[in-house]
């Protein structure tokens, strides 16, 4: 087919994925938080409140869009786009199955990290352009946090890359197939320090509780997004949920074997065409559920404590663990050769 047509179809697939994902995640968040708080969550619109999010989206679309007089118009207009588009772009590298990837990039992981680091720029644009001190504070906090944790996040993902031998996310998933000693699945979750470091860094990168100070509701009202309303706010909000999905998807890909089931050979799964993507999405949603439980429970870490955590603890630890993993891999290679 025409290469441009394929490209447009792929783009539409990513967009559809992002939108559907956003809708489902918002509903899931409200229901999960509701059950955690011993209450019901949305119930009125549609059976069990299923139509709540579509109605919310309709509401956002039909809302008036007031732009405060003193904002920097170009930045104010561009900022939601700069925040939204990188999230969209990150979807194209996710491996839904052996063959189902929107774009099978050889540097998939690096691409995702690179693209996600554009988001703090958008947040800063939003905060600055709003001409609102509260927004500015929120934006400054967000940028400080996300810039700090980009390096540890990459460093924490590198042991996995070293073990798999490739930055291509599909290869990383395939490297996790099979079992060790016929019982333990060969998932990289056993590399627990890398998992913990990546988990914490990712929580901060995506602005999740307990590190959501960019949007700390009880302090900064809505943080950098205070002056936004209607679909501009919708874009910012949607991008936050997309980041959550991408982070969870990365966790699943890097540490939980991607679309694979334990003890089931990968080829058998791939034979059933639609099963791997479904498994992938289910696993991602389980991880997201766990993230939501954290969101509903833990208090927020203060900004300076969090930055101290990043610079003084996570960065050195991730470097150290990288070295240790390298040594261990070399040792295991030597042992394997020597045997």
């Amino acid at each position: 087919m025409n290469i441009w047509l394929i490209a447009i179809l792929r783009f539409l697939a990513a967009l559809a994925l992002m939108l559907v994902n956003g809708v489902v995640l918002i509903y899931m968040l409200r229901k999960v938080l509701g059950r955690l708080h011993v209450r019901l969550g949305p119930m009125d619109n549609g059976p069990w409140g299923l139509l709540q999010t579509p109605f919310d989206v309709l509401k956002l679309l039909s809302k008036e869009d007031p732009t405060p007089k003193a904002v920097d118009k170009a930045l104010f207009w561009l900022a939601p786009a700069v925040v939204f588009v990188p999230s969209l772009m990150a979807y194209i590298a996710l491996p839904f199955s052996n063959t189902w990837t929107i774009a099978n990039l050889p540097l998939g992981l690096l691409f995702i990290f690179a693209v996600m680091s554009i988001i703090p720029l958008g947040i800063l644009m939003a905060g600055w352009a709003s001409n609102n001190k509260w927004s500015l504070l929120g934006a400054m906090r967000a940028v400080g946090a996300q810039v700090t944790y980009e390096v540890p996040m990459l460093m924490a993902a590198l042991p996995v890359v070293m073990m798999a031998g490739s930055l291509n996310l599909g290869d990383i998933v395939n490297a996790q197939s099979g079992t060790v000693l016929w019982v333990i699945p060969n998932w990289y979750i056993w590399n627990v320090p890398a998992f913990i470091l990546f988990f914490i860094s990712g929580l901060i990168e995506t602005g999740q509780t307990p590190f959501d100070m960019a949007e700390a509701e009880s302090e900064l009202v809505a943080g950098f997004a205070t002056e936004y309303s209607s679909m501009r706010f919708g874009l910012l909000f949607l991008s936050e949920f997309s980041n959550t999905f991408i982070f969870a998807a990365l966790l699943v890909t890097l540490f939980f074997g991607g679309w694979q089931l334990p003890w089931v050979p990968a080829s058998a799964l791939s034979a059933i065409g639609f099963l791997p993507p479904v498994l992938f999405v289910v696993k991602t949603y389980i991880v997201i559920f766990f993230l939501m439980v954290i969101r509903g429970t833990l208090p927020r870490v203060r900004v300076d404590q969090m930055l101290a955590l990043g610079w003084k603890f996570l960065l050195p630890s991730s470097l150290a663990w990288l070295m240790v993993t390298g040594v261990l891999i070399k040792v295991s290679q030597v042992l394997a050769v020597g045997r």
Partner: protein, 578 residues
């Protein structure tokens, strides 16, 4: 509570050359009357000399018809004595601030000067507290609130365009509020530096923000405004920040000022209940109880034993529910949504119990002079027992989920530390004071109702930081549950109220009654003149003092901390603004 020795007081004052009239007034205590020129030296003698009355309980005014009586209510904890220093000022005279002797008077002085038409000198922040320019001095008898115009008659309420400018000018003599004040935009609300007399601030007190520095452009003045998810009530704090650190802070209150003290002068004594309910709306029982106690002291009525036990029962239920309203949002300020809802489940159950007994969920209107309004029903009795069963288990869980969380501890520890002397100097009472190591509880030390018969402990901590305040309040909740159990098990038979007339006319006199509300010592100073409504009712809000202490403790913290610090002080704007 002992009566101080009048001769010792006269002796001490004669020694410094002040002629004072010291006499013992029935139902009140020892009153010492001095001239305005001697007020500062008198207060200094009271504080620093042998007399050692180191604690300012309250500072307020009474319009006697010819002059304004400024009353300083002082207390000596070591001897357990209270004394009243009354200074008579002419209308429109100048009040000299004595904040350097008793820092607790910082905000009450501003309110006094504004409400009685006096000017204020020597104060670091001599601005109106509760009302804006254009409001007359409300508590003067000459400012009438005509009863019919208060609430009804919509066609008579006109919003004139000139009423829409809201400025808050200084109360200093040179800038008399009666002259045209300098128009300051409400957004900034900062006194022009040259107009405020610089006062040497001792260590530990920080000046209110003085404006953006001309050379450095890093400092912002942020208005944590009246609409904010985390200021507990309508409170506005102007924060001067440098990056994330708070350098200066100034609290603006008065958004919830309804004139409770003035309205009390038009209400009958039995109708004071609903009015006081709406002061500290979370601790309505305690506010009503304080008023009832004061009225009973004036009437010299004896309350039956069962009524006293019911008062304790209701008060402790109210205490737990008030602490829950503090605890849940405290977690929410820190970012944690779960505990908020878990504790509110218990509170809903408690409010159901209270509705069973009193008929209202928040505005109880239950305590009356002479006893309580109604007896407890058997269903309510059963519900209370059931509540106690699951509450004791839940409180441990709710304690663990937030207080045991390291993130929460990291936020709260070493935040807003008040030393014992600092807390006493600022007039803090209640949980805030006990967390700083000073063991004073009105229920145990100046008992009222059935507390002498109750077996309870008073939790005290010595850390003085926000975490200690949380810990003290959580332990208080457990002690309250213990007391409720004792009340339910041991409720004596008898009447639930003494026989009092429907329209009460206490004989002329004045008295003070204090209760231990969840926030501190809630006192009501009642002046009666023989008619069916009070002549002057003063509501001593325990958290006004906590607020001014918090305002002084804010500089040096981060913005995120400021929210948590103010939350840990547990104030309610309803009683601060009245």
């Amino acid at each position: 509570m002992h009566t101080p020795d009048p001769t010792a007081i006269s002796g001490a004052l004669d020694a410094i050359g002040v002629s004072a009239g010291v006499e013992e007034v029935a139902k009140l205590g020892v009153v010492c009357r001095v001239a305005p020129a001697d007020s500062r030296s008198t207060l200094r003698a009271f504080k620093e000399g042998d007399l050692a009355f180191g604690f300012l309980v309250d500072l307020f005014g009474v319009d006697t018809g010819e002059a304004v009586d400024v009353v300083y209510h002082l207390r000596s904890f070591s001897r357990d004595e209270d004394v009243y220093v009354k200074v008579e000022h002419e209308y429109g005279a100048n009040l000299e601030s004595m904040w350097d002797i008793y820092p607790a008077g910082l905000m009450p002085e501003r309110e006094l000067a504004e409400m009685f038409g006096l000017t204020l000198s020597g104060h670091p922040n001599p601005r109106r507290l509760l009302t804006t320019d254009g409001c007359p001095p409300f508590l003067l008898k000459g400012s009438e609130i005509r009863a019919e115009d208060e609430v009804r008659h919509r066609e008579r309420q006109v919003v004139a365009p000139e009423n829409l400018e809201r400025t808050v000018s200084s109360l200093e003599p040179e800038q008399s509020p009666h002259a045209a004040p300098a128009k300051m935009p409400l957004q900034e609300g900062i006194a022009a530096p040259s107009a405020v007399q610089p006062v040497d601030l001792p260590a530990g007190l920080h000046r209110a923000p003085t404006g953006v520095d001309e050379l450095q452009t890093e400092r912002l003045i942020l208005s944590m405004g009246p609409q904010h998810p985390s200021t507990h009530g309508v409170l506005r704090i102007n924060l001067e920040i440098d990056g994330e650190e708070v350098i200066g802070s100034e609290c603006h209150i008065g958004y919830l000022h309804r004139g409770i003290e003035k309205l009390a002068e038009t209400r009958r004594f039995t109708a004071l209940g609903p009015l006081m309910d709406r002061g500290d709306y979370l601790a309505s029982m305690h506010a009503e109880l304080a008023t009832s106690l004061a009225t009973e002291q004036l009437l010299e009525v004896e309350v039956p034993r069962r009524a006293n036990w019911l008062r304790v029962l209701m008060g402790e239920l109210n205490r737990i529910s008030s602490h829950i309203v503090w605890y849940g949002p405290n977690g929410l300020d820190a970012g944690s949504m779960g505990p908020f809802l878990y504790v509110f489940r218990d509170r809903e159950y408690m409010l159901d119990i209270l509705e069973d007994i009193t008929g209202g969920r928040m505005m109880f209107n239950y305590m009356r002079p002479g006893g309580v309004l109604r007896d407890i029903t058997p269903e309510a009795d059963g519900k209370i027992r059931k509540f106690l069963k699951f509450f004791n288990q839940h409180i441990d869980e709710n304690d663990e989920i937030l207080m045991g969380n390291e993130i929460f501890q990291a936020r709260m520890k070493d935040l807003g530390v008040f030393s014992k002397e600092g807390a006493l100097a600022f007039g803090l009472t209640g949980g805030n004071l006990r967390a700083s190591g000073f063991d004073f509880d009105v229920r145990r030390d100046q008992p009222y109702a059935a507390y002498p018969e109750m077996d309870f402990e008073v939790p005290v901590s010595t850390d003085g930081d926000a975490y200690a305040r949380c810990r003290v309040r959580l332990d208080e909740m457990r002690q309250s549950a213990r007391m409720i159990q004792q009340c339910i098990d041991g409720l004596p038979e008898g009447d639930f109220t003494a026989k009092v007339a429907k329209v009460l006319r206490p004989p002329a006199g004045e008295t003070y009654a204090a209760v231990e509300s969840p926030r501190g010592e809630l006192g009501v100073h009642l002046v009666a003149d023989g008619s069916d409504s009070p002549y002057r009712m003063r509501y001593r809000p325990p958290t006004l003092f906590a607020l001014q202490a918090g305002e002084q403790a804010l500089p040096g913290t981060l913005i995120a901390d400021s929210v948590v610090l103010m939350g840990s002080l547990d104030f309610v704007l309803g009683e601060i603004d009245r």
